[in-house]
């Protein structure tokens, strides 16, 4: 992955989030407060502008800038979580090389997951971002030797599966947890946006 591909990834996320904003918001309406799509859309729109202005020189810079912008534009739970994730991913990458390979990205994605879990204290099965992100990173790592396109495809598929599996889960973190057992039967909005992020990576890496 070079800077151009990293920026394509972010642009693809922004496009997917814009397109799916209503869908994400409706998912959040069922078990949350109906703002997830709007929030991410506001955030990634700002990220695209910020990247245009900053014109980062390394993949690491692209991702740190993405994270920083998300933190300062999104708010809610998703802002700090995704913002911290992208910052951690960027910071885990080689600071000065203009390209990174699949293995390096795998390590960085794992660091992003760790940051999300450190901040939000969610474990697998809590019906959160982690339920899509966790399987996605594992699949990415496993397929890293086959190169970025294959690893990204595997990660997107695993994220999708994790996302779908959240439907049957009883939420223990985030707003959905307030619903108790009534959270069961609804797909988690955060897990859904996580899938969009990995699907965007698969699309641009293909």
């Amino acid at each position: 992955m070079d800077v151009a591909l990293a920026r394509s990834w972010i642009a693809a996320i922004a496009a997917a989030v814009a397109e799916q904003a209503d869908y994400l918001t409706q998912l959040d309406s069922a078990i949350g407060d109906a703002d997830h799509g709007v929030n991410l859309n506001r955030g990634f729109t700002a990220v695209v502008t910020a990247l245009d202005t900053a014109d980062p020189r390394t993949v690491a810079e692209v991702l740190v800038k993405t994270g920083t912008t998300l933190v300062s534009k999104v708010g809610g739970a998703a802002g700090p979580l995704y913002g911290t994730a992208f910052r951690a991913i960027g910071k885990a990458l080689p600071a000065d090389s203009s390209t990174v390979d699949a293995a390096e990205l795998g390590v960085a994605l794992r660091a992003g997951l760790a940051a999300v879990q450190k901040l939000g204290a969610a474990v697998p099965g809590d019906k959160t971002i982690v339920d899509a992100y966790g399987p996605a990173v594992a699949a990415f790592e496993e397929a890293a030797d086959d190169g970025l396109p294959a690893a990204a495809r595997a990660a997107a598929e695993a994220a999708a599966e994790g996302m779908r599996a959240t439907t049957e889960l009883h939420a223990r973190k985030g707003r959905a947890s307030y619903l108790g057992p009534r959270s069961v039967g609804h797909q988690d909005p955060g897990a859904t946006s996580t899938w969009l992020i990995f699907q965007a990576l698969a699309d641009v890496a293909a």
Binding site: D35, V74, G76, A77, R172, K173, G174, G180
Partner: protein, 332 residues
């Protein structure tokens, strides 16, 4: 969606423009989305600020002023503010004696305020945080993100604001806020869902003869759905839940808030207050102070919450202290 708005994405900023026009004695920064007392920062005075998603008006902006908050930072509708915004408000009210953040216990609010506190601390500002989690509908267990912050926030803001006005230290102000929170319990029931400008339709459909029991203030469904019941029984459910979670010894004094969620008219809130007061009286609780109205709301939701705060002499004294804000004013 039937709302007096122009553009769903601009609601918060445009409402802030209205706040700025209506209250020239407040400093409203529409870009940064912060509302600040005109005389802030005051050297040596602890700054008290709060924030959270918009849609709960008059909370928090309506409580900025003498004897209450020094600043509020409203996020987008139901979305906690971002760290930069909270930091800007923190800086605006820092008079060198530290700043107290009053944070309602939601994952997003907690994380964003925590990040802001770290940024502030990097700049040498001492931040103390009071976490409000008074909603006893959510059992505090491993199965939830913890109890939500709801109606008690108003009482925490009033009491901490009065104490800060009187010159107390940041630690003392925060301790008083935490004490109010610990001594408070709230429970809410909704008759309709609210509609966020972004979603454009109600969060859930509730049949004509049903109510949501144990709702929060973000339009989410409640803990359970039940058949609609008379006000007397609704008041009883509410009071039982509150006294069940935080029992009060007979003779205890309390501050009681019967709060509308935004779409419930005052005539119903007073009717409910009558029922609640009678039940508390029967339980031996002495209602020392009360407040009836729409204070901690959830956009246009028809619903109500009851908050009972065990009050000692210090809390009552701070409650009674002069306050001059858009939504709460007495003694001045």
């Amino acid at each position: 969606m039937k709302k007096f708005i122009n553009d769903p994405a601009a609601v918060v900023r445009e409402a802030l423009a209205g706040v700025a026009a209506a209250h020239p004695d407040l400093r409203v920064d529409i870009e940064q989305q912060i509302v600040v007392r005109a005389d802030a920062p005051r050297a040596g005075k602890v700054g008290v600020l709060s924030g959270g998603g918009s849609g709960h008006e008059p909370l928090h902006g309506g409580f900025v002023g003498l004897g209450m908050l020094d600043a509020a930072c409203p996020g987008e509708v139901f979305t906690s503010p971002v760290p930069d915004q909270i930091l800007a408000a923190t800086q605006a009210v820092d008079g060198g004696a530290g700043v107290v953040h009053i944070v309602k216990n939601y994952t997003g609010d907690v994380m964003n305020f925590q990040m802001a506190a770290e940024l502030a601390s990097d700049e040498g500002i001492e931040v103390q945080t009071v976490l409000v989690d008074d909603d006893v509908a959510v059992e505090d267990s491993t199965w939830t993100a913890g109890r939500r912050g709801t109606g008690a926030t108003l009482i925490v803001e009033k009491v901490t604001g009065a104490l800060a006005e009187a010159g107390a230290s940041a630690a003392a102000v925060a301790a008083a806020g935490s004490r109010v929170n610990e001594q408070s319990a709230s429970f809410a029931i909704a008759l309709t869902a609210c509609t966020t400008p972004a979603a454009g339709k109600p969060g859930f459909e509730l049949p004509d003869d049903e109510m949501e029991v144990g709702v929060g203030i973000h339009g989410e469904p409640g803990r359970r759905r039940e058949k609609l019941r008379p006000a007397r029984e609704i008041a009883a459910m509410t009071v039982e839940a509150i006294l069940g979670a935080k029992p009060l010894a007979a003779g205890t004094e309390a501050i009681v808030l019967v709060n509308g969620l935004g779409g419930t008219p005052l005539i119903e809130l007073y009717l409910l207050y009558g029922e609640v007061a009678a039940l508390l009286d029967k339980a031996g609780v002495q209602v020392a102070r009360n407040l009836v109205g729409n204070y901690v709301t959830s956009l246009d939701m028809a619903g109500m919450s009851v908050t009972v705060c065990r009050a000692d002499a210090e809390i009552l004294r701070l409650w009674d202290a002069p306050v001059r804000t858009p939504a709460l004013r007495w003694g001045v």
